[in-house]
């Protein structure tokens, strides 16, 4: 009976869940409830993904008002894929969070944490599913506000300044998006994405529309931490509670990448953005600089969480690189990397969180000799780290492989070479941690308090690790979804509008 309402449920469920969670006084109950809600959203997202792979696009008119007048939810393969990643990671993180949060957050704030998490999930799902440009802004702000709260919940005082910086940058970004949407509305008189696409296609070059696009791209670049607008990200991910870092690293910036893809490919059309405005060169250069600069910075960090945060910025560079190749193969590699990166970064941040749980520190000194003391956690870290590097039989290898192939397809030998060199830097920063963990003696060998992480933290971590291996070997599901998504996005936007 409810199958036709599935496109809206991944948003509505957590949105209803959040206030209910707030009313549940006990931390345990709130945890159980939030996890169930998130799990159910995940289930629906998977159904949506399978349906869209099968049938193409699902459109849902909210309030029964037909699209350009009412708000439309529009789920196709591209957003169903990212939606599955977001809801899936959210569920795993919630399972993981129970013990991690117990240790890191004050007891009477636990329900607030779960409420904020659900709000964040609702916001991210909303950004992904919506087919309306202004509605996207509203959900962007829900998820951002919830994120600021989540980051600032950490007990470290530096989390406060990090959250504030995030808030200022995030609000500037959102306001830029608002300006851009306003300029688009000014010239077209509509807010529905497909309608926008059809009407923008009528102009061949327009200064207002160009400026609007530029503002949207800058705003989104702030949100997705594209170099050089990434400075808010490392402190926020470093000082946030571990569960929050694991969730955000895998989802928040990736959703922003999706928004960029949506605006470029669906609304303005690749032709307009890349050929008329020459955005591809700018994005390509920024992506390559991001990969190298941030990988270098990552190699000298002493805090492992900061290191992973910089590594995230570098990985975002790979995604943007894929997009800026302006081919279906490149876009597909970028989307695939969104999926795979969520798997590996989620696992890495969870492992770091587990170490933090036992040792109370994220400094690299705490990792001395951990290979013996927390073997399962460090094994997870190793495998996920190999995936970041791009070693064969891991998920990371698959996306790098497609990225390199996409570059070579265009005869961009230099870019392919740079992608491979970037991976070498990943070897350095991941290797540093592995070296101290396996080949150094612990600073205090008599300390017996440090033992393996609790089971509830190990299970979601290992699910992600196994997923890393699974999607490294059997690529049929992830690759076919990403491939379908990129083909879907790559058809000229105006045609999509005409279909309706």
């Amino acid at each position: 009976m409810f199958a036709q309402h599935f496109p809206v449920l991944p948003i509505v469920l957590p949105l209803i869940g959040a206030p209910v969670c707030m009313l549940l006084a006990r931390s345990q109950l709130a945890w159980l409830f939030a996890t169930l809600i998130s799990g159910f959203s995940f289930f629906i997202s998977i159904v949506l993904l399978l349906t869209t792979l099968d049938q193409g696009v699902l459109s849902y008119a909210l309030g029964g008002w037909e699209p350009p007048w009412g708000i439309e939810m529009r789920v196709d393969v591209a957003n169903a894929l990212v939606l599955s990643v977001v809801t899936g990671l959210s569920t795993l993180v919630l399972v993981y969070a129970k013990q991690s949060i117990d240790k890191e957050i004050d007891r009477n704030q636990h329900t607030l944490f779960y409420t904020a998490h659900l709000l964040c999930l609702a916001g991210l799902s909303g950004i992904l599913s919506t087919g309306d440009a202004f509605n996207l802004f509203v959900f962007l702000e829900i998820s951002s506000l919830a994120t600021y709260t989540l980051v600032s919940l950490a007990s470290d005082r530096r989390a406060l300044t990090a959250a504030f910086r995030y808030l200022v940058m995030g609000t500037i970004g959102a306001t830029f998006i608002l300006i851009g949407v306003g300029m688009m509305y000014m010239k077209t008189g509509t807010l529905n994405m497909l309608d926008l696409a059809a009407r923008i296609a009528e102009y061949d070059s327009n200064r207002t529309l160009n400026t609007g696009l530029a503002f949207i791209l800058i705003g989104v670049s702030i949100k997705l931490a594209l170099f050089p607008l990434h400075m808010w990200l490392p402190p926020a991910y470093t000082h946030a509670p571990s569960a929050v870092s694991a969730f955000l690293a895998g989802t928040a910036t990736k959703v922003a990448v999706y928004v960029m893809v949506r605006f470029i490919f669906t609304i303005y059309g690749a032709e307009y953005v890349f050929h008329e405005m020459g955005m591809d060169v700018i994005l390509l250069v920024l992506a390559i600089v991001a990969i190298f600069n941030c990988s270098f910075v990552a190699t000298v960090q002493s805090n492992v969480k900061t290191m992973l945060a910089y590594s995230s910025v570098a990985q975002i560079g790979y995604m943007i690189l894929g997009i800026s190749l302006v081919t279906s193969a490149g876009l597909m590699a970028g989307l695939l990397h969104i999926f795979n990166h969520a798997l590996m970064k989620g696992a890495l941040f969870m492992a770091v969180g587990a170490v933090l749980f036992r040792t109370g520190s994220a400094d690299i000194k705490a990792y001395y000799g951990l290979g013996k003391r927390m073997p399962l956690t460090m094994a997870a870290f190793t495998i996920a780290g190999l995936s970041i590097i791009g070693v064969p039989l891991t998920a990371g290898f698959v996306s790098k492989w497609y990225l390199v192939t996409a570059a070579l397809e265009q005869q961009h030998w230099l870019i392919a070479f740079l992608i491979l060199t970037g991976s070498l830097l990943a070897i350095v920063y991941i290797g540093r941690v592995l070296e101290v963990a396996y080949f150094k003696e612990p600073a205090d060998p008599t300390d017996t308090t440090i033992k393996e992480a609790p089971v509830l933290m190990l299970i979601p971590m290992w699910i992600l690790v196994l997923a890393n291996i699974y999607f490294g070997i059997d690529t049929s599901l992830s690759v076919s979804a990403a491939d379908a998504a990129s083909k879907w996005l790559f058809q000229p936007a105006a045609d999509l509008g005409a279909v309706r």
């Binding site: 951002s144 600021y148 406060l160 300044t161 504030f164 500037i172 608002l178 490392p234 900061t306």
Partner: protein, 118 residues
């Protein structure tokens, strides 16, 4: 001349936006940053409302004897955006209060002296 009449509104609004934006990125004091953000956003709201204005039109509430109404859609959007803006302001100010308690200052350049940020 008609060029100026057509666009003067947008140009002043751009100036206002940039004044707000300048306060955000140049101010050292966090409270002033938040004030700047608010000015920036409020100016964007004026831009939106200008889009919806119809010369000779009236407020979009049905009344006898009025035929031309201004566009209600930007009004709705900005109603939403105002509330979003104040929500962000509230959270930002709450963060400032906590920062003051934790660091003893709300001047951005003084944090680095007290605590390596990254």
């Amino acid at each position: 001349m008609s060029f100026i009449v057509d666009y003067y509104n947008y140009w002043i609004v751009v100036f206002l936006m940039m004044a707000g934006f300048y306060i955000v990125i140049s101010a050292n004091n966090l409270v002033k940053k938040v004030v700047g953000l608010n000015i920036f956003q409020t100016s964007v709201f004026i831009m939106y409302i200008s889009i919806g204005k119809v010369s000779g039109g009236s407020a979009p509430i049905l009344a006898d004897g009025i035929t031309s109404y201004s566009n209600p859609l930007p009004h709705v959007l900005i109603l939403t955006a105002i509330v979003v803006g104040v929500a962000t302001t509230a959270v930002g100010l709450a963060l400032i209060v906590r920062i003051k308690r934790a660091y003893g200052t709300v001047e951005e350049n003084e944090f680095k002296d007290k605590d390596a940020l990254i």
